[in-house]
Amino acid sequence: MVSIPVVEGAALRAANVSKTFAAADGPALVALDRVSLEVGAGELVSLVGPSGCGKSTLLRLVAGLDRPSAGELWVGDEPITGPNAERGLVFQDPSLFPWLTIRRNIESGLVARGVLRQRRHEVDEYLRLVGLEGFADAYPHQLSGGMAQRAALARALVNHPRVLLLDEPLGALDQFTRMRMQDELLRMWESRGTTLLLVTHDIDEALYLSDRIAVMTPRPGRIDQILDVDLPRPRHRNDRRFLDYRVRLLEMLNLTGGAEDEGDTSS
């Protein structure tokens, strides 16, 4: 673990970013409406909000997978024009390549960038980091959900991304696995120095992990308020101050009236 190099996180900046999707029938859908957000280098920021508030859309824009309809996105002092290995992405569905073993999945970023030969030794370290050294030659369908998600995380991390984008990475896991994975995520983030932008439905997860929480509201998607979580780590989920933050966050979400939008799956 010690031999894994610490990377320098990069700051993110979104300035007045809008995204509209043309609808086949009816008016265009405004997924994001003039969203601005700044994430400092090495910071851990969560995006929370009800379904359909544009959290995932924003994340895809930062990843460079989609282009904004208006506004600008910057990583460090470079504008984002497309996907890049310095911005790693992990989805809720681990999306491991099912035809590759776990080792080859983790190697895939190195292969794609043609640096496997120089960096092959790191693959074993990342396998160990996520506790999958015994499963290097297994295929993805042989892993449990938590193991697959850890493999997906290792696959993103081996590229040394300066920004790691996580789209509800623990959303499909059971409560026990999820809480354990949150600790692992924190451990990795603390040991690496990567900037981390996390989309989550889970208020407790956001409070447990984040430096700051951006609260989003739907239709059109906006960032209304940002909550600074000024608690030392490791945090305790039943600590008095943690619960105070929880109440404040719930109020923020309720005050904005976003909670009635269940059942919308466009996030």
Partner: protein, 347 residues
Amino acid sequence: MTSKLADPQRTVAAPVAHRRGDIPTRSVVAVLSPILVAAAALAVHRYLPDEQLPPLSWLDTLPAWRQPYPVVLALVGAGTILAAIAQAVVPLLRPIVRHFAPLIAGATGVAIVWEFVTTKMNWLHQPFFPGPNEVFGAMVEDRVLLLESAWHSLQLLLAGYAVGVVAGLITGILVGWFPRVRYWAMPALKFIGPIPATALIPLVMTIWKDSFPCAVALIGFAVWFPMTILTSSGIANVRLSYLDVARTLGAGRFYLIFRVAVPAALPNIFVGLFMGLGASFLTLIVAETVGVQAGLGWYLKWQQGYMEYAKVYGTLILSAVFFSTLMTLLFKLRDRVLKWQKGVIKW
């Protein structure tokens, strides 16, 4: 978690034990059943009088114990004994022998019925329905010509199949990946593709004087169409999250096409390979009966012309072995290449 990992490998290692499709009989009965059925077949052959009068042939010069059919039955019996001993000594062979022995017995039973309704009872008449002894005799008599024909068919088939597979992969990837190619090529594909390859015989004969390239082109065309359609649909339907993830990992277009889209489309591509193989068999036989002066189809047509139905059936048996062997090889290749797929594919 670990038990989940162990499971798929175990099902691969011992596939025959208690899977659906196996007969639940006592293993002793199962293993020795071919001997019993072969003995019954020998009894029928030896003791029932012949009602059907076979044409004069080289078989008339052979003594009764050297006739082809009883020799085959004796081989079945001897093979069964060897297999029974082998599976008792080598545990690894046990599931294989127990799986196949009842099937051999069943096939021998079919031979009994066959001889009964032809040679023995003459319910089906000469010259169209010879008995097993004559058919096996015809295969032995013409063995050199038959094997030469099979060899020629194999060369032609492999050449045509290779051409069709390579061409189908290329067009399938282009059509599946590039929307603009798809726009222009799909209507053309839908227009040209459904033409039966054999309908193009007059056309290819004007292009090449020699019959071999004609036949290669026909078989290639028959394979190309299903390969193209299935490859392109597999590529076009790759899960977008695979491509998204690959992009954020730094993948360029080459990696996206050949390391993500093509592997993800492999299950589809294999459906195309199987459909193409079936189409290639059909086209091969037709091409050989029409133009090519060699191969199993040519031999079949030739013997039919002489009313040599024993040889026609002999060729059919050899063709069945030939084609099903190729199919089996493709199944084996698929099981190797697609071993990453969840569970065992049931088709």
